[in-house]
Symmetry: C2
Subunit: 350 residues, 2 copies
Amino acid sequence: MTQPSDKALVPFVSVDHMMGLIHHLGIEQTLRGLADYIEADFRRWERFDKSPRVASHSDVGVIELMPTSDGEAYGFKYVNGHPKNTSEGLQTVTAFGLLADVYTGYPVLLSEMTILTALRTAATSAMAAKYLAPGESRVMAMIGNGAQAEFQSLAMKAICGIDTVRLYDIDPKATQKAARNLAGMGLRVVECKSAEESMEGAQIITTCTADKQYATILTDNMVGSGVHINAIGGDCPGKTELAPAILYRSDIFVEYPEQTRIEGEIQQMAPDHPVTELWQVITGAAPGRRDARAITLFDSVGFAIEDFSALRFLRDAIRGTDFFAPLDLLADPDDPRDLFGMLRRAAPPA
Amino acid sequence: MTQPSDKALVPFVSVDHMMGLIHHLGIEQTLRGLADYIEADFRRWERFDKSPRVASHSDVGVIELMPTSDGEAYGFKYVNGHPKNTSEGLQTVTAFGLLADVYTGYPVLLSEMTILTALRTAATSAMAAKYLAPGESRVMAMIGNGAQAEFQSLAMKAICGIDTVRLYDIDPKATQKAARNLAGMGLRVVECKSAEESMEGAQIITTCTADKQYATILTDNMVGSGVHINAIGGDCPGKTELAPAILYRSDIFVEYPEQTRIEGEIQQMAPDHPVTELWQVITGAAPGRRDARAITLFDSVGFAIEDFSALRFLRDAIRGTDFFAPLDLLADPDDPRDLFGMLRRAAPPA
């Protein structure tokens, strides 16, 4: 008779575990580690099962499942998007995810992913900027100072070497919050009174605003040549941040065109508007920045492979640490056919 | 400033909790409760978001996500199917599931579903038999004595009032296992040496075998008139149990035709072979059993709504009990925009 398998206990990373792990590794080291895993998976992009997310829409939000697999591991993320939550004291986005072994079908990791998604989004942005931003980029404009702003700032420092972040938000309280959080972390932080002011001297312009509507955060005349735009906030149908005129002047880079054409900035463009897949820049199959004066645009909406990379990173990072707990998630009777016997034997004494 | 929400802690039902709860309620009472919730959801079938499962196939198995929503709650199940696992001492099928609040997008329940799926499958079968089997059904043939056999037997007792189960499996050890597990549970249990023998005097014939191939567990001459066939084992492309001739003689009832035509017994039939949707029998919109001599066939493959019903049942059943634990799954900062601040404040003292 075989013994119950230790595979029945799934390592679980709670929110507390996640925060402990990040401080154990260091925030910037965590961002660099994530970027390395994401970059490695972008290099083998063609190996992945890819499909648009599976969405369940309601009047007030959306719940999505984002699965993918590289043939050895399978991962998915559960994520909601409820813009009205903020006004009710709840998170707009919460997330958790799972990694499983394709060979057995058994889960091997369950984790919170609200914090992990914030980190992987920033790490992906910085990895893209490493390939696309002008050389010697030292200053980033950070427009939209919500939950993602500090993660973006630190990832651009850790991975691209920026030394200055210029913050702007229509709500000055959000800017103050971000400035307070970034104090003492090795970045020069400048609080700005307008989007234009924030972009002075910036080689990288990150937009991450939250309005669910066609908003124009950047107009054409605001954007000069020789910059990299990292557009994070346009991430669902009806939500964009950039004036179309900017898109016409930019070389546009995307994660997964099938999804970005629905959710990203390019939903404003013709369905055949030319874009380059970022993974091809990383493998060298496609050019990145053409010259110092080009405007590069990373039209980022977030893709399942980035979550998969983040879960792979986490699985390796928790090994040998205490930043997880075993979860009794899977029934695993001695004899696989004897599920009922296991249940019956668990009866309390009469 | 708002306080962290108790919504950040998600009730989790482990395998141990699940077994404890079932014994607390009683196995038959649990099966009846599940059948009631499933029947209630079949009655409001048209309200659900329905889609075929999202499958990731490999050479050795499949991993699936099965989401659905009634507009108020959202549920999904993760389930794998790896027939080769049994020979490696692992479960062919493991599962877990989640229920969330559509209004906030926040998960409200995470649970093991290996045991819960076994129960909901049996409860669904018995609910269907309640509507379709001949009146005064007292004897069930149970062909295939694997992990589902005892659950089917007890559900048919609890919900349809059978008093005798006649067991058959090509592996006598499986039959002995099922007979041993069912001893003392109020059923007359007869171990049979052939499928034909098991069907003597049976009004209900349940087939639940595990071969992933076109197998013929029941041939045409074995099946007389005036019976209900509950076909559970044909549940993926290439896996069926019944000779097509039986299907031609039967009135066929299914869960969700779009899925059953791919996965069920009727994959052997023309794509327009007539079937009745079970929910319409329950609401009275379609006839069930025509007369005492008809052969009714429930071609069951399992559908997301049944898992949703099971999770609803569980959410209500654990209320006021100790059969769950709060799981720190969701990051929930005081200020939703201050995710980074929450992380930074969690730093251990230098």
